[in-house]
């Protein structure tokens, strides 16, 4: 089985990368999980996964300078494909190869999480959403984050990608998240998976270059990510289905 999720938000600063790694680690109790930094223009997964000195990254694979195996690293119970941060690396990368990279990774894993760019303004930014089976939308309980999240959902569903659920992040105590999440769900095609509280532990973990679930596995935020992982029902798909999907037209004929 394999299912590809794009972890997406229309807006930066929602804690998308922290969420991608935390969800991945929480899911790795039950599944074989691969996490890919698909934000090739502003990569930062490597800093979250203690891979800042990784020699070969997705940039090299997308530039056809290395096979995908050379850019995969086993960290914290996950298979991690980090992306480099250099401008040259970004310039030389061919985003269309991402499709083949995912198809290759799909042969050997249960779940692929794509840490996606927080934007919808270019082909490269939208590609991970197009390639995924479903998206997980990371939201803060603010008006701009929710309206940008709605845009992400509409792009995804237009491109035939479903919504797996919503993840509220950086929720402050003063925010009555139950009412907000209930009202938000009316407009989204997926349920709220969890509400993750704003957390000093998450900031510490980021500074230490370690995932939250390794740094403070018992904190409230880490617990919320495990709740999210529990709420996510992973669909069965075969590696061949995934490969087909990535090799054939990704936009439905009706467009």
């Amino acid at each position: 089985m394999v299912e590809v999720f794009a972890v997406a938000s229309g807006k930066g600063g929602t804690g998308k990368t922290t969420s991608t790694v935390a969800l991945g680690m929480a899911l790795s109790d039950r599944y074989d999980v691969t996490v890919v930094d698909a934000d090739t223009g502003m990569a930062n997964l490597l800093f979250h996964a203690g891979l800042s000195d990784a020699e070969t990254t997705l940039h090299d694979v997308l530039a056809d300078d290395a096979p995908v195996e050379a850019a995969t690293y086993d960290r914290f119970g996950l298979t991690v494909v980090p992306c480099g941060t250099s401008l040259d690396g970004f310039r030389n990368a061919d985003p269309d190869r991402l499709r083949d990279v995912i198809a290759a990774l799909a042969e050997d894993t249960d779940i692929i999480l794509l840490d996606s760019p927080p934007a919808l303004d270019s082909r490269t930014a939208v590609l991970p959403i197009v390639l995924a089976d479903r998206i997980v939308v990371v939201l803060q309980p603010t008006i701009p984050a929710i309206s940008d999240g709605l845009k992400v959902q509409e792009y995804a569903t237009t491109y035939d990608t479903d919504v797996a659920g919503l993840l509220f992040n950086k929720v402050r105590e003063s925010e009555s998240i139950e009412q907000v999440s209930e009202k938000t769900e009316r407009y989204f095609d997926g349920p709220t998976l969890a509400a993750v509280p704003e957390s000093e532990r998450a900031r510490e973990a980021r500074r230490a270059g370690r995932p939250l679930l390794a740094h403070a596995p018992e904190c409230e935020a880490a617990t919320a990510y495990r709740v999210a992982a529990e709420s996510l029902t992973v669909r069965d798909g075969t590696a061949a289905d995934a490969a087909d999907r990535f090799q054939s037209a990704v936009i439905p004929e009706s467009l």
Partner: protein
């Protein structure tokens, strides 16, 4: 709201108004910003939003399309970007008479909360605000001068089904248009 024109400092398209608010705070700019949403098809998308600043801290807001000021003007502006933003600098003295319009006032952190969606930036803005701008309720990050909490502002936004449907529809037509352009 009548403002002297001032000196044009910057004029550009931004995807996130948060960046403008952070830049203005960082540079302690005194003057005003004009936000014009590029999503003109949306409800309330017509017209421009104006925010004035003293030393980087927001003071007044006004929306030319709806003729509303204060917190309601921020609600009118809270639609997805990108925005075209023009920043103008003024001497503090030039803003004095405009700033007498107390009905257009917003609590210092509110634009960062509602337009920028960044509670941390709102905290920094409140820290930079002079004491007399911080009412007892605004001290509590959740409450504003008009009694509207950030939470009820988010809920009011979510209760506006028509506006949300317009946002979704706009996004769908944009996505279809771009699918061809991007050759997916």
């Amino acid at each position: 709201m009548k403002l002297p024109r001032g000196r044009l400092d910057k004029s550009r398209v931004v995807t996130d108004p948060r960046d403008t608010l952070a830049d203005v705070l960082d540079r302690e700019l005194t003057g005003y910003a004009v936000f014009e949403s590029q999503e003109t098809l949306l409800l309330d998308g017509e017209g421009r939003g104006v925010i004035t600043f003293t030393d980087g801290v927001p003071v007044l807001t006004y929306h030319t399309g709806t003729d509303r000021g204060g917190p309601p003007a921020l609600a009118d502006l809270a639609i997805p970007g990108p925005y075209h933003v023009s920043l103008y600098t003024l001497d503090a003295a030039d803003l004095e008479s405009a700033h007498e319009a107390t009905d257009l006032r917003v609590p210092p952190g509110m634009p960062a909360e509602r337009l920028g969606g960044d509670p941390a930036l709102a905290d920094s803005t409140r820290r930079a605000a002079p004491d007399e701008r911080l009412s007892a309720t605004d001290d509590d990050a959740a409450a504003a001068e008009d009694g509207t909490t950030e939470q009820s502002a988010v809920e009011a936004f979510l209760d506006d089904a028509e506006k949300i449907e317009a946002i979704k529809q706009q996004a769908r037509s944009e996505a279809r248009e771009r699918a061809q352009q991007w050759e997916f």
